[in-house]
């Protein structure tokens, strides 16, 4: 029995030491931003956040996930602020009391892209629904995000408007991946997909996909920023969250967004009315 007692005492001592070790290693509190892969992977945030961080003296930690998960993280109070693109969901999020101070920041647009061979002959159109109907009718392969992101929700709304059920259709590939991966996959499979222009532009050289349909009003893709409600989660970093929102919609933030032109092409446009 002595052996057990001694063993436990040692174990307890070790545990105490280790917990001290653990707590000393925990990081200081920064601003947590949950956002979509499009803003992060395109390099936008890396280009525009440093001036804000310098000015404010805080570090922004970016968690890049789909819009659905970003809003879920915010609802749980696991992040302080979200930058997402699904206006309906954003408004519902604020209405439910999870967030405050929702503001339009910028927009880009979706494009329907596909292989050069264009097997469904949809190139050059301006009506995205018409093109999708042709793809479905021809049973041409279409890669879908399938990850409940803003892009995925947008695509689902098109199929709903068309009254086409894509569930289980062999030509409709539900990938469950981020935008860049889906574009890579569509390139490999010579399939069509719906992409935000920013991510498409950064991967175009690699995938060889071409724009088939653009300019439809339905392809408009506005981004909104929302602070997590401190009444729901008293310990969120509300001060820095509001500062970020103010900065993004300030002249300095707006010109930083407009000045982001990788390869000479502007990818995000600031919203005209504030």
């Amino acid at each position: 029995m002595t052996s057990t007692f001694l063993g436990w005492r040692h174990l307890a001592a070790t545990l105490a030491l280790l917990s001290a070790f653990l707590s000393s290693a925990s990081e200081a509190r920064d601003l947590r931003l949950a956002t979509t892969t499009s803003t992060d992977h395109s390099g936008l945030l890396r280009a525009i956040l440093p001036p804000f961080e310098r000015e404010r003296g805080c570090r922004v930690q970016v968690v890049a996930v789909g819009t659905g998960k970003a809003l879920k993280l915010a609802e749980n109070g696991d992040v302080d602020v979200v930058l997402v693109h699904d206006r309906q969901a954003e408004q519902a999020f604020v209405a439910a009391g999870h967030g405050l101070d929702r503001r339009d920041v910028m927009y880009n647009d979706f494009v329907l892209v596909g292989p050069r061979s264009d097997p469904a002959t949809v190139r050059g159109g301006r009506d995205v629904l018409h093109a999708l109907r042709r793809i479905a009718a021809g049973q041409v392969r279409f890669v879908s995000r399938g990850d409940d992101s803003g892009t995925d929700r947008m695509e689902r709304s098109y199929w709903e408007q068309l009254g086409i059920s894509v569930r289980g259709a062999p030509w409709h590939v539900s990938a469950g991946l981020g935008m860049s991966e889906v574009l890579t996959m569509a390139g490999e499979m010579q399939a069509y997909t719906l992409a935000d222009r920013a991510t498409y532009a950064t991967t175009r050289a690699r995938t060889g996909l071409e724009i088939m349909v653009q300019g439809d009003r339905r392809l408009f893709n506005p981004y909104g920023v929302i602070a997590v409600n401190p009444k729901k989660h008293p310990d969120v970093n509300f001060a820095d969250a509001t500062a970020l929102i103010d900065w993004l919609t300030s002249p300095a933030g707006r010109s930083a967004i407009s000045a982001f032109r990788p390869g000479g092409e502007q990818l995000f446009f600031v919203t005209a009315d504030r």
Binding site: T2, S3, T4, L6, G7, H10, L11, T14, L15, L18, F21, L22, S23, A25, S26, E27, R29, R32, H41, Q61, V62, V63, A64, N76, G77, D78, V79, L177, G178, S180, E181, T184, T203, R206, T207, H233, D235
Partner: protein
């Protein structure tokens, strides 16, 4: 980009001492070393108790530990996420999306490996070592020490195994770390991200580093074994 081309770009990245790349390597090493420092004494301690002390429920505990060897790391990550989220039991600690959360996850992943291997090592030890220690009137910690020294090579194998599992795991790190650049982005999550973006060179470069780290750790152990057997 072809394989040869990507590998060439990867080697150039490594040699150019790209600070971002080495920062990622630093996160991986720091998190995994901390996790191993915590898990090693715990795992070996619990393994020793399971091997030497009889108590009700011991068999069940052993079976559960061995079952956990096959637990997917994403499941560990999911459970930990639910506990550490601000809605969760330990939400007030603000540990989600920190290195500490990754350390805890890796400890949980390493423990079953260490416990199961330590247990079987100690059970397989020459019983005469223990008997001699007891006959010489050694104290309980002294007996434990004698036994553990006796099976040190098997314990090293356990440590190598656990190290390999945690340094390369991605599911849990991604879920509780959040893959935040410069903070919780480690080698596996960075490889997944870079590959998803089609940046294969960065992915390969990090893969090479991961392999080298694993090789270095295993060679160090092999060296010590050789030294002490001489």
């Amino acid at each position: 980009m072809g394989f040869v081309e990507a590998t060439g770009a990867a080697l150039r990245l490594l040699l150019s001492a790209d600070p971002e790349l080495w920062g990622i390597v630093g996160v991986s090493l720091s998190v995994t070393l901390r996790a191993m420092l915590i898990a090693m004494p715990l795992g070996v301690g619990v393994g020793y108790l399971l091997a030497t002390v009889q108590f009700p429920g011991r068999r069940l505990l052993i079976v559960v530990t061995q079952g956990l060897l096959a637990s997917p790391t994403v499941v560990v990550g999911l459970l930990l996420y639910l506990l550490l989220s601000r809605q969760g039991l330990f939400g007030q600690l603000h540990l989600l999306f920190t290195q500490t959360a990754m350390v805890i996850g890796q400890v949980l992943i390493a423990l079953p490996v260490l416990i199961a291997f330590a247990l079987s090592a100690i059970q397989g030890a020459d019983p005469r070592a223990r008997e001699t220690a007891v006959a010489l009137g050694a104290s309980a910690p002294r007996i434990a020490w004698t036994l553990l020294v006796e099976v040190r090579f098997a314990l090293m194998a356990a440590v190598c195994n656990a190290f390999g599992r945690v340094v390369s795991e991605i599911g849990c790190s991604l879920m509780v770390g959040g893959n935040i650049a410069g903070v919780t982005r480690n080698i596996p999550t960075a490889i997944a991200l870079e590959t998803s973006k089609g940046e294969f060179a960065q992915g390969i470069a990090l893969g090479i580093v991961l392999l080298l780290v694993a090789l270095a750790v295993n060679s160090a152990f092999a060296y010590f074994q050789g030294e002490s057997r001489r």
